[in-house]
């Protein structure tokens, strides 16, 4: 899923390792999320949003629209 995790991480001035440490996951997971190779679980997405002080839909971009 398209996301702005890298953008917000860099805005916070954190390395991938630092973000991984704060989230309690591996650097590989942070890297995979940022490169759109892995969609995080809902709990991890919520933790990321809390960490960056942003709503989840500012971090993860969903272009789906409900049918009228």
């Amino acid at each position: 899923m398209e996301n702005r995790v890298k953008e917000w991480r860099e805005h916070a001035g954190w390395s991938q390792g630092e973000l991984a440490r704060r989230l309690g996951v591996s650097r590989q997971t942070v890297n995979a999320v940022e490169t759109d190779k892995y969609d995080p679980s809902l709990p991890l997405a919520l933790r990321m949003a809390k960490l960056f002080g942003q709503p989840v839909d500012q971090l993860f971009l969903d272009h789906w629209e409900p049918e009228a």
Partner: protein, 221 residues
């Protein structure tokens, strides 16, 4: 392109080249030594099923060695494993050790089976009882070890492990299911038991690479 970027990509290429060369040398020398040992013992050609088992065991053994090296000597491991730096290995030490022991146990299981059999057959270095003891102990240890550490790793690694499990099922059905069906209809000969055991682990290895590759973990870092 800046010098730093050029140096960075050059470093990655060198690292991947080193990993490939090291893997090829270790695998080639190991396989040659194993076949030389077996064929030297009996003076005849080794059964292809044993070659498959030994080859698969060798790959798992090499993975156990390099992953274990990464856990116990991160500065050396960072040169041979696909990581950013040695700190990443230090952070992942527990998971790496769990992986290294798992790979070692699979290698031991396959080696025990590959070396076992009735006396006189090419490649047989262990009697059926000794081979069963080695393979049984490795299987039991593998089961206990996997159960105890089933929750290790973060969510992506657990997702990759589950994915690898389901891919393995598809591959086993595809390869051995079709083979067995064709053998039932007498188009081909039925596979040997050791081909099935070694083949399942070889397909599991392939499934692991597919599962981690999908998540970008095989991209040079």
């Amino acid at each position: 392109m800046s010098e730093a970027v050029a140096n960075g990509s050059g470093g990655k290429v060198r690292k991947v080249a080193l990993q490939l060369v090291l893997g090829a040398i270790c695998g080639g020398v190991g396989m040659f030594a194993a076949l030389w040992l077996f064929e030297g013992q009996s003076g005849s050609k080794v059964d292809p099923a044993r070659v498959l088992a030994i080859g698969t065991a060798l790959v798992f053994g090499l993975m156990a060695f390099f992953v274990g090296l990464g856990a116990l000597a991160p500065s050396l491991g960072a040169r041979t494993l696909n990581v950013e730096d040695e700190d990443e290995l230090t952070e992942q030490k527990t998971n790496l050790l769990v992986g290294a022991v798992t790979f070692f146990l699979i290698a031991a299981l396959l080696t025990g089976l590959a070396l076992g059999g009735s006396a006189g057959a090419a490649g047989t270095l262990l009697g059926p009882q000794e081979a069963a003891l080695v393979a049984g102990a490795a299987t039991l240890a593998l089961a206990v070890w996997s159960f105890v550490h089933r929750e290790k790793g973060d969510e992506m690694m657990r997702a990759a492990a589950k994915d690898a499990g389901s891919i393995t099922t598809y591959l086993v059905v595809l390869v051995f299911g079709i083979w067995a069906a064709a053998a039932h209809l007498e188009f081909v000969a039925m596979f040997e038991p050791l081909v099935f055991v070694a083949g399942v682990f070889a397909l599991y290895l392939l499934a692991v690479f597919i599962a981690v590759g999908k998540r970008g973990l095989l991209m040079p870092r």
